[in-house]
Symmetry: C2
Subunit: 253 residues, 2 copies
């Protein structure tokens, strides 16, 4: 069923919702939905409702809220991916897949080995496009939260953000080469709900030693992601899948 | 370090290896390597050696074998992905990523909702291209095994293959919708080394009910991959990451 993220918050006794703008356009012109058709509406506070179209006009749709969606679609912890600017449009793949896999946010930053040099104008344009990709992926994967995208223009800004998280990890491929394979599982098996995690990935060619040192000096720790060398865009998908497997599938057993 | 998959097997006392053809071309013309340079050579029996160039000629390289690579790069179980033909070139992404994540083989088959209709000629051409992608991804991710790619022209051929595996699983998105989240973890925590697993994924739009019924009638079982709906190309990556996390990271703790 179609799912729409709305910019509204929901008031306590609200029974109907008026939808205009892009979402109304999509419902009326793209999906050609009719009175009585249903969709999920997701509000800013992450509440999600099954709703039925009560009235359609040329650029406005009125929904009657039927019932709140009960299943939890969000990871029990907040995972933010911080990715060194990769080449070309790989960040689009990363944002789309990280959203499907439950990421809370995706940051990107100019890493020492990043080939891409994006100026402020380009960053803004990219960020808009990536935000749209995250929104579509969140709708498609039936999430109740739309990941935030933030493209940083300096590494210092990433360091400043460390204080917003309970833990900062660095996925460092040298760790895989040296056989580091303990930290991630030992961390995930002890983690508490709602923990805020930042995990940093390098671009093609990986993180530079100096960068890793700097992250470690700011209380980050290194995790290995298994014995094979993963491409830059594959590593965050492995990480998020492991978090989901541990906390959504395994802990329930 | 560069890694090459050779078609040779290694005899017991062999000290040197003569390399010709594409691999020699890559070493001489693309990488412009010299006498004394090193690379990993992977033989048909999955043995992998650090080797040094002893002699270079115009189309031939002689390597001296230095030492066998000790670290295990392969998953402790054989996972074969069977994917309903997806749209466009998504199978390329699936093969590349599944190889990085340790898949033993990738099969693809015409699923009821597959839009792609590929005739025998097209299948053969695709299979060649995908085999090359798997080889490159195996080299890049430092594996010691190059996944086999097999594009089947009927679903019956897939059913026939069930007998080659210890377990057959179906990743069915309706399972996610119904909250199935127990089977995969309860399976992986009990699995034995060298188990052969086949896991089936649908194309865009998912597997049809009738197909799933048929697979189940042939002793397959359904697994859910968490509460979010994953795109067709994302689901196998989640599955392989979960297998790696459970068997390569978690079990070692």
């Amino acid at each position: 069923m179609q799912r729409y993220f709305l910019e509204d918050s929901l008031s306590l006794d609200q029974q109907t919702v008026q939808v205009t703008g892009d979402v109304a356009h999509h419902i009326i012109r793209v999906m050609r939905m009719n009175k009585g058709d249903k969709a999920y509406l997701v509000f800013q506070n992450k509440q999600s409702f099954l709703a039925e179209i009560a009235k359609l006009e040329s650029a406005e749709v009125i929904f009657a809220l039927l019932e709140e969606e009960k299943e939890v679609k969000e990871l029990p912890v907040d995972v933010t991916i911080a990715h060194g600017f990769p080449k070309g449009d790989k960040l689009e793949l990363i944002v789309q897949k990280a959203t499907e896999l439950g990421a809370h946010s995706v940051l990107a930053f100019p890493s020492d080995r990043s080939i891409a040099k994006w100026d402020a104008k380009k960053l803004l344009k990219k960020q808009e496009r990536l935000t749209k990709i995250a929104k579509e992926a969140a709708e498609q994967s039936q999430r109740t939260y739309q990941p935030l995208i933030d493209l940083l223009d300096t590494k210092q800004k990433l360091l400043k953000k460390f204080q917003d998280y309970d833990f900062v990890m660095v996925a460092y491929e040298e760790a895989a080469k040296q056989g580091e394979c303990f930290k991630l599982a030992s961390f995930l098996t002890k983690i508490k709900r709602h923990t805020k995690i930042l995990v940093i990935f390098g671009p093609e060619g990986g993180l530079a030693k100096e960068e890793v040192k700097m992250f470690l000096a700011h209380e980050a720790f290194i995790v290995g992601l298994g014995p094979r060398i993963l491409r830059t865009e594959t590593a965050p998908l492995y990480f998020l899948s492991a978090v989901s497997y541990e906390l959504e599938l395994r802990l329930k057993n």
